[in-house]
Symmetry: C2
Subunit: 134 residues, 2 copies
DNA sequence: CCTTGCTACTTTGCATTGCGTACTACCTAT
DNA sequence: ATAGGTAGTACGCAATGCAAAGTAGCAAGG
């Protein structure tokens, strides 16, 4: 049990990857909401949360992209135990974006809940317009 | 206001696209949970739910793939108003998968909630290991 | 007859993204 | 110098959402 994503079998394996695509970007920004942090620490922090374990090659590109887009800013700092760390923190633009994400995420959840309850207006009876023809 | 996805500005525009990856697949299977339906109807049903509006070129490929993977089965039927309809419905395999998705989705939501509350173990004080150097 | 418009579905092509693998660079300890 | 953990980069692949355009059947209007 290393990759916490094998819930059932491999049936939804690929789906989870796709589902997390945009969610991870949100998670990284959430991880920086309280204050600055660096890649390695974020990776470890996320790995402690169920289903959010990620690798370096997932986190660093996202951090780099968010920085390039102006949502994060970076600062170098000594680590004492290894190479220089790159501390990331949210910019104001990033905080605005995070606020929008915070607003959008529950909307999506809500829409899905709505979908769960509301049937696609398909007739509840049974087939109505084919083999019965006429 | 046609594309319900412009919440703020174009700031999270691309993010939403990524976030919906995988989620749409879930939505389509949810739409078929009650019974069979066809692409066009699903599109219209989803378009009535906030933030779930999709186009044909999004839905049909997903339906085709789900069918190819054995999660859906299809059946042709006359429509009376246009060309033949392809009615999709969940297979048993699809229902199992949908159940796993139903289990996974709240887990992801929950993990994100956890992340919102739990800070990345960064020190709450302030910087601790850089410019102060030694 | 021809055109417009609605329904229903398909195809092509593109841009984005997560992530596995491999690699480099830095620091400390022995 | 060598070994080991830390921090980050680079390359490449496979999926996916989605816009745009095309096809095909049916109905109403000129």
């Amino acid at each position: 049990m290393q990759s916490s994503k094998d819930i059932g079998n491999g049936l939804i394996d690929g789906w989870i990857v796709q589902l997390r695509k945009g969610a991870l970007e949100y998670c990284l920004m959430l991880a920086l909401r309280r204050g600055e942090s660096y890649g390695y620490e974020i990776i470890q922090a996320l790995s402690e949360i169920r289903d959010l374990s990620v690798g370096e090659s997932t986190v660093y590109p996202i951090l780099a992209r968010l920085k390039a887009e102006g949502f994060l800013k970076a600062r170098l700092g000594r680590s004492g135990t290894g190479p220089m760390r790159r501390y990331f923190s949210l910019t104001e633009k990033g905080r605005i974006r995070l606020a929008m994400m915070d607003a959008y995420w529950p909307m999506l959840s809500d829409s899905i809940e709505t979908l769960k309850k509301a049937a696609v207006r398909a007739v509840p009876g049974k087939g109505r317009c084919d083999n019965g023809k006429d």
